[in-house]
Structure formats: structure tokens, C-alpha cells
């Protein structure tokens, strides 16, 4: 046991991301990093810390506040044989540069008949809960997942973060890597203990497009991603005390979406609750429920979702906390569906 304890190497998602990038940079000359404050500062959210000191200013590049330029440049560099890892500081800023992402990075492989792949990673922070208001707290993974041509991954813990980042860098296609601020393990954003877990020293990959059952159960399936997974796990603890066995599925990837794992779990439990910090309508929660419904999976009761309401994210703590998904809402949802 103590032996195992020694082997434990707990990292935050921020450090796991930086470690993944640095390991790939050591073994692959083509990998470089661009973004605002990714250099000496190490990224506003710590995920490029140490890279500038190790690899220098030419491979770890601070950019002007010109997202359209440097993301567009990443596409051109990737087409020319490089492997850029670029950061969009907050996903909320996608509106100033989405063309370079969804019309260029995501479509050039198709437009070129596969002859000009775009192997790049776009890292971007998501999520709220710390009163950063409506332009700095959104998730928007549904927005990216709706548009074809880019893979979309979002880890709930450090082990997956490192493995998904290495997989993303090695992928021949553009991968949007969405990391949730509340899970970064930056003290100043609070700390979700569950996101800090054992991360092997050596490089490894987590396959993009494979969901993971993070807790087995038989009475209800709780499907989530990033923060939703942790809400689901906490809800499962509460439900367990009530004698309810909840299975929690961490999607980890929205594109490709692991529909098989969702169907398998729901077929087993016969109940579905989708947790999503992204906006309620026309997003992830609807897609997961539709995936189950269109397959005609027999359910004991109607599937439910615990998602962020269709409102901009309010600054004031009482309003924001009330609007966010949480374990209690999941538990209530279960109790309502089984009443």
C-alpha cells in the first residue's frame, strides 16, 4: 500500500497539460506553442508553465491580441508540416476568430480531398462558477461539436488531460482541447480535488472518441463532461446513501461521440440524466437524449437533463450558483423521474 502511495504522482490538469506538451516538444521538432501570455507567464491558466524556459521564445510564442491572425497562422503552419498548439485564452472569445477555426482549420482537409491535413491543437478554457460573468464563464462545447471537421475533447481529470493532449498533438486532424477552469487546479480558481489524480511520468495517449465509465452503477446513467462528471460523482455518492446505484459516464470527447458507450450504459440502467454546464437548448444535452431516444432504448422513465439555462451567465454569486448544475439537482432529477 505505502508502496503504491509512493508511486502516486498526483498532478493538476494544468501541470498535466504542460507536461504533455513539453514531452511532445522534446520528441517532435514540429511541435510549437502560440497564444496570448503562453510564454514567460506560462499561460493565464498555467497550462504552458515551464515551456518557455525549456524551449525558448521561438517555439513558445507570445502573440499580439490577434486571434484571427495566430489561429489562421497555425492552420498555415500545420499545412506546411508543423504541429502548432495554440491557445484561445477563454472559449468565450471564439466570436472574434471562429472563421479561422471552423471554416479553415476544420474544413481544409475536406476541401483538399485529404491532401492538406491540419494537425493542430486549439487549447481553450471553459466554464464558470467563480463570478467572471457572461463573457468569461461559458462552456460552448456544444457550439464547437455542432460544426464538422474538428475533434472536440474535454478532460475531467489530469490523467485524461495528459493522455488526450498527447493524442491531440499526434492526431493528423484539428483537435479542440477544452479545459474547464474550475478543474485546472489553479488555487485562485478553487480546486476540484477529484480532478487531481495520478499521472504517469512517461508519455501516453488516451484515445480520442472513447467515453469512460468512471463509476459503475445499475439504476441510472449520469452522462457528463468536465465539471458535469464531478457533479455526477458527487450525486452518485448521495444517491448511494439512499440505496440508489448510479453509473457515471465521462464522455471525454464530444467529437467523435462514443454513442455506443452511452447506449450500453443506458440499456443497462434504464434511466438517463445528462449533466451539462453548457447552455440547455440545441447543445450536448439534447444530442445525448436524442441519441438514446432514436435508438428506441427501453427506459423506465423519461430521460432528463440538468443543464445551464438559456441565459447569459450572471455575475452575482447567488444568481450564478443557482443557475449552475450541481449534485443536488441531479439527485432531485432522479427522485422526480422515479417518483
Amino acid at each position: 500500500m505505502s508502496d503504491v502511495a509512493q508511486k502516486e504522482r498526483k498532478l493538476t490538469i494544468a501541470r498535466a497539460m504542460a507536461e504533455a506538451v513539453s514531452q511532445e516538444m522534446r520528441t517532435d521538432e514540429r511541435v510549437f506553442v502560440m497564444g496570448e501570455d503562453v510564454g514567460p507567464l506560462g499561460g493565464v491558466f498555467g497550462n504552458t508553465r515551464g515551456l518557455f524556459d525549456e524551449f525558448g521564445a521561438s517555439r513558445v510564442r507570445d502573440t499580439p491580441i490577434s486571434e484571427t491572425a495566430f489561429i489562421g497562422a497555425a492552420v498555415g503552419a500545420a499545412a506546411d508540416g508543423m504541429r502548432p498548439v495554440v491557445e484561445l485564452m477563454f472559449v468565450d472569445f471564439f466570436g472574434v476568430c471562429m472563421d479561422a477555426i471552423y471554416n479553415l482549420a476544420a474544413k481544409n482537409s475536406y476541401f483538399s480531398g485529404g491532401h492538406v491535413p491540419v494537425p493542430m491543437v486549439l487549447m481553450t478554457s471553459t466554464g464558470g462558477g467563480y463570478s467572471d460573468a457572461g463573457q468569461h464563464s461559458q462552456c460552448l462545447h456544444g457550439t464547437f461539436a455542432h460544426l464538422p471537421g474538428m475533434k472536440v475533447v474535454a478532460p475531467s481529470n489530469a490523467y485524461d488531460a495528459k493522455g488526450l493532449m498527447i493524442a491531440a498533438i499526434r492526431d493528423q486532424n484539428p483537435v479542440v482541447f477544452m479545459f474547464h477552469k474550475a478543474l485546472q487546479g489553479m488555487g485562485w480558481l478553487g480546486t476540484e480535488k477529484g480532478a487531481i489524480n495520478h499521472v504517469p511520468e512517461e508519455a501516453y495517449t488516451v484515445e480520442i472518441g472513447k467515453a469512460k465509465v468512471v463509476r459503475e452503477g445499475k439504476d441510472v446513467t449520469v452522462v457528463g463532461i468536465t465539471s458535469g462528471v464531478h457533479h455526477g460523482l458527487k450525486a452518485a455518492d448521495i444517491l448511494a446513501e439512499k440505496g440508489v446505484s448510479a453509473e457515471v459516464l465521462d464522455l471525454r470527447s464530444l467529437v467523435p461521440l462514443d454513442r455506443e458507450s452511452i447506449l450500453r450504459s443506458v440499456a443497462k440502467t434504464g434511466r438517463l440524466i445528462v449533466v451539462d454546464e453548457d447552455y440547455h437548448s440545441y447543445g450536448m444535452s439534447g444530442e445525448i437524449i436524442a441519441t438514446v431516444a432514436e435508438q428506441g432504448v427501453k427506459l423506465h422513465c423519461a430521460p432528463q437533463r440538468v443543464a445551464y439555462p438559456d441565459i447569459p451567465i450572471p455575475f452575482s454569486r447567488p444568481m450564478e450558483q443557482w443557475a449552475l448544475p450541481n449534485a443536488e439537482k441531479i439527485v432531485n432529477s432522479y427522485e422526480l423521474m422515479t417518483r
Binding site: 496570448e36 491580441i65 463570478s131 467572471d132 468569461h136 480558481l189 478553487g190 454569486r317 444568481m319 443557482w322
Partner: protein, 328 residues
């Protein structure tokens, strides 16, 4: 145009109010955030961008504006809001996330809206440019008086919106003035590492627009240059660009360790603090004495303390109010 005595005193007074406001917010922001600094905690959660040192940009420009004129500001808006005459009680309550806040707590410090004085700001770089041009267009179309002023940072000048709006404003000869608060930094990235020209006033020529640069963070110089640009806009002669050399005396936001600053920069900036400098000018030129200083300082502190008390005493909104005002 040169500021008269009353205008100089007005500028100084608003600089004092703004500075004391920021110092007060700085203290309150840290409440509940130590020993462990967690942005989510305390009476003022979230990001906090203080304007200490940038007061000259606000007062030198706003001295020429009335309530009907339109101002859009940035993620660092307090000094401009105060100079524009935003309701200080309700602005403070907004920063605290209270029901009595300008937006009922929905916006917070980066989203201060006061329709009564046509002030707004936002958290996206250069996002205020378009709305300022649009307000100016509205006045032009309606033949109504009033100009618009868009404030932005030196880092924001490299955002595409800057270019598009500068061109549009020039082509349509809109009554708008663009004011760049050049504090030399965009978070940790210096202006020289991110901007292809030494100073952004040179970029005005790319739009056939007059471009001015004010050095030394001097409120009087800002007053003079802004006065001409705003008069030009009021006269229907079109837009102008002004870049003001200013100082960010604080970090980018609260919690910023500022490790990226060259040694000594911070001290050098503080030694050039515009507030004592403005006081010296009043003493030299306007017979400013201890009694005037005491009176104006007391008044400034009183106004700020009152606003903070109002905010502290105000209630939080009901959680369900989060659902209101998405649509009107």
C-alpha cells in the same frame, strides 16, 4: 484649448475619486481571499482590473463630454465610468453583485451600463469600438447632437475590430473619437513585443484620420488634444485617434504577480504617479493650498465611502432573477 482653473480642479477631483475608489475596491476585493487567494470568494468575486495610474486618460477626455455623449470603455472601466458621471452608488453595488446595482448584479465590474449618462463597457478586447461608431452614426442619422468616444488599450489596437471600425468611421465621417490608453502592456506581453509600430497614432494615417499622441500621462495635455478631437467630431469633421502614454500602477488584474515587469519599472512608474503631479500643478498654477486639498480629498473619500456603504448595505438579488432581462 487649455483647461481653465475650474476644469483643472474638476480633473483633479475625479482623479482623486477614481484612485480612492480603486484603493478601496482593492482592499475589499481581498476580503475573504486570504490566506488562500480564490477569486470566487469575498464580497467582490471574479476578475478585477484596476485603473490606478490611468486616471489622466479618463478625466482629460471626459472633461469635454456631457451626459448625452456616448462612451464605451473596456475591461478596465472604473476611472472612465467615474469621469463620465456614472452613478457611483449603483456602479459600486453592481461590482458587489447587489440587486441595487446598475444591472441588478448581472454584469459586474466588466459590464457597467449606465444609460442615464450613455456609458457602457465590456470584457472583450476592442468590442466597444463598433458600438461607439454605431452611436455616432445614430446621432449623424438623426441630426442629433452628441459625440461618441471609444476607449481601448494599446493591446486592443492589434485586434481586427480596431481596423474595421477605424475604416468605417472614417469612410462615413462619424462623430467619434478613439482613445488608446497605452500602458505598455497587454497582460504580460509588452506593446513592443506585440505591435509593429512604436506608437499607434501613426496608424491613424491608414484611415486618413488625424492621429495624436500624448506623452507623460499628462492630464492637461490629454485635455488639450482631446478637446480638439472632440470639437472636430462635434463640428462634423469626422473621427480622430488619440494614443495616450499612461501607467498601469497595479497588476493586470488582482492576483497578478507581475513577474514580467523589468526591474525597477514599478518604482519608476510610481515615482511618476499622475495624482501628486496634478496636485503640484494646481499648487503652482491655481493657488492650491492645504485647505483646498483637504476639502477636495474629504469630499472624494466621502463620495466613495458612501457608495461602498450603499453597496454593502444592499441586498443580493433573488437567485431566480437570473432568468430576467435576457429579453425585454
Amino acid at each position: 484649448m487649455k483647461p481653465n482653473k475650474a476644469q483643472k480642479i474638476w480633473m483633479y477631483e475625479h482623479m482623486l475619486v477614481s484612485r480612492y475608489f480603486e484603493e478601496s475596491i482593492e482592499k475589499i476585493y481581498m476580503e475573504g481571499k486570504s490566506p488562500a487567494f480564490n477569486m470566487a470568494n469575498g464580497p467582490i468575486p471574479g476578475e478585477m482590473h484596476l485603473s490606478n495610474g490611468q486616471e489622466p486618460c479618463a478625466v482629460g477626455v471626459c472633461a469635454h463630454l456631457t451626459a448625452e455623449d456616448v462612451v464605451t470603455s473596456t475591461h478596465r472601466p472604473h476611472h472612465v465610468a467615474i469621469a463620465k458621471g456614472v452613478d457611483l452608488d449603483r456602479m459600486t453595488a453592481e461590482i458587489f453583485g447587489k440587486k441595487t446595482g446598475l444591472s441588478g448584479g448581472r454584469g459586474g465590474h466588466m459590464h457597467i451600463f449606465d444609460a442615464a449618462v450613455n456609458f457602457s463597457c465590456s470584457g472583450i478586447i476592442a468590442e466597444g469600438m463598433g458600438p461607439a461608431a454605431g452611436a455616432a452614426l445614430s446621432r449623424q442619422l438623426q441630426g442629433k447632437t452628441g459625440v461618441a468616444v471609444a476607449f481601448l488599450g494599446d493591446g486592443a489596437v492589434n485586434q481586427g475590430a480596431f481596423h474595421e471600425v477605424m475604416n468605417l468611421a472614417a469612410v462615413w465621417k462619424l462623430p467619434v473619437v478613439f482613445v488608446v490608453e497605452d500602458n505598455g502592456w497587454g497582460i504580460s506581453v509588452s506593446k513592443s513585443d506585440s505591435t509593429a509600430v512604436e506608437h499607434n497614432d501613426t496608424r491613424a494615417a491608414a484611415y486618413g484620420m488625424p492621429g495624436y499622441r500624448v506623452i507623460n500621462n499628462d492630464p492637461v495635455a490629454v485635455f488639450e488634444v482631446a478637446g480638439n478631437a472632440i470639437a472636430r467630431a462635434r463640428a462634423g469633421e469626422g473621427p480622430s485617434l488619440i494614443e495616450i502614454e499612461t501607467y498601469r500602477l497595479a497588476g493586470h488584474f488582482m492576483g497578478d504577480a507581475e513577474g514580467y515587469r523589468p526591474d525597477g519599472e514599478k518604482d519608476a512608474l510610481h515615482s511618476k504617479d499622475p495624482i501628486p503631479a496634478m496636485k503640484r500643478l494646481l499648487v503652482a498654477e491655481c493657488g492650491w493650498g492645504d485647505s483646498e486639498e483637504l476639502e477636495i480629498t474629504t469630499k472624494a473619500h466621502f463620495r466613495v465611502d458612501q457608495a461602498i456603504q450603499f453597496a454593502r448595505d444592499s441586498a443580493y438579488p433573488e437567485p431566480e432573477e437570473a432568468l430576467d432581462k435576457v429579453f425585454v
